[in-house]
Symmetry: C2
Subunit: 178 residues, 2 copies
Amino acid sequence: MRKRSLPLSQVYRLLEPGPVVLVTTLHRARANVMAQSWHTVMEFEPPLVGCVVGADNHSFAALKATRECVINIPTVALARQTVGCGNTSGRDVDKFAAFGLTPKPASEVAPPMIAECYASLEARVVDTRMVNRYNLFVLEVVKAWVDADEKDPRTLHHRGRGRFMVAGETIHLPSRMK
Amino acid sequence: MRKRSLPLSQVYRLLEPGPVVLVTTLHRARANVMAQSWHTVMEFEPPLVGCVVGADNHSFAALKATRECVINIPTVALARQTVGCGNTSGRDVDKFAAFGLTPKPASEVAPPMIAECYASLEARVVDTRMVNRYNLFVLEVVKAWVDADEKDPRTLHHRGRGRFMVAGETIHLPSRMK
């Protein structure tokens, strides 16, 4: 995989289609991974992302305390590992070891990137005012990496209860939309 | 299309995969349609949905004033119409007429459903505190309709600049995730 730095203005293109992501955190010297689908782009540039993280998740405390994470985007090649991360808790399991995921140092934040993911977005929490009521963290992406060879990634999209839609064909329609 | 009422507890399954949606509003006796991708599920039940709507959109004022909308989900069969709605403004165009979309009365809210969409979620704005800063409306889905025959809808997922990923195959992985 040949990772390149992606201009921050283009980050929305990775998250807007709604892929399942693997969010990594680092807390008390332990890295963790959480599978996550409740996210939305909130601004183009600097890219803001709203992420709802259930308060019972092990990653919730890490995110609240350290205010840093990496949003890693897997493809269908990591389907088993992705669901594995969703089925387990960082309280009990070292998910990197359990699922053969390779931590790779990020450049701007402490939590590691996942080498096997086709894209990784280094992010900082910039607003926690909606955490108490909605578990909603506002993240700013400060550095983005993407596999330069992956034009049409076969991302995973959760339809509930373990059913995942896999990204199909890409069509192009003349659009004025950014 | 054979529409049935969907239990509210299942609404997250329609939005979690990140489809482009067509949001209808009704303001000053005029119905309008907006193409939208910046949304996330925020709660299972009652289903809460966060929607970021640019303040320059004609629908922004309608949503703020009337606090009601319908989130309609198109499939690839409506790709041309969906992009058409994104390329035009309700200020200038009656989008229902321009794109041959059929308004159908909703049961709980004033804005119409779009008959051609495979699912329609009637929603009310329940929190506007994040509108000033982030253009983020928190919506509660109060009634949901879905085509009973559509198990694997070929939804559209925007990858930016008019590139749309079309939902591909569905895989099933044993998951503890809801």
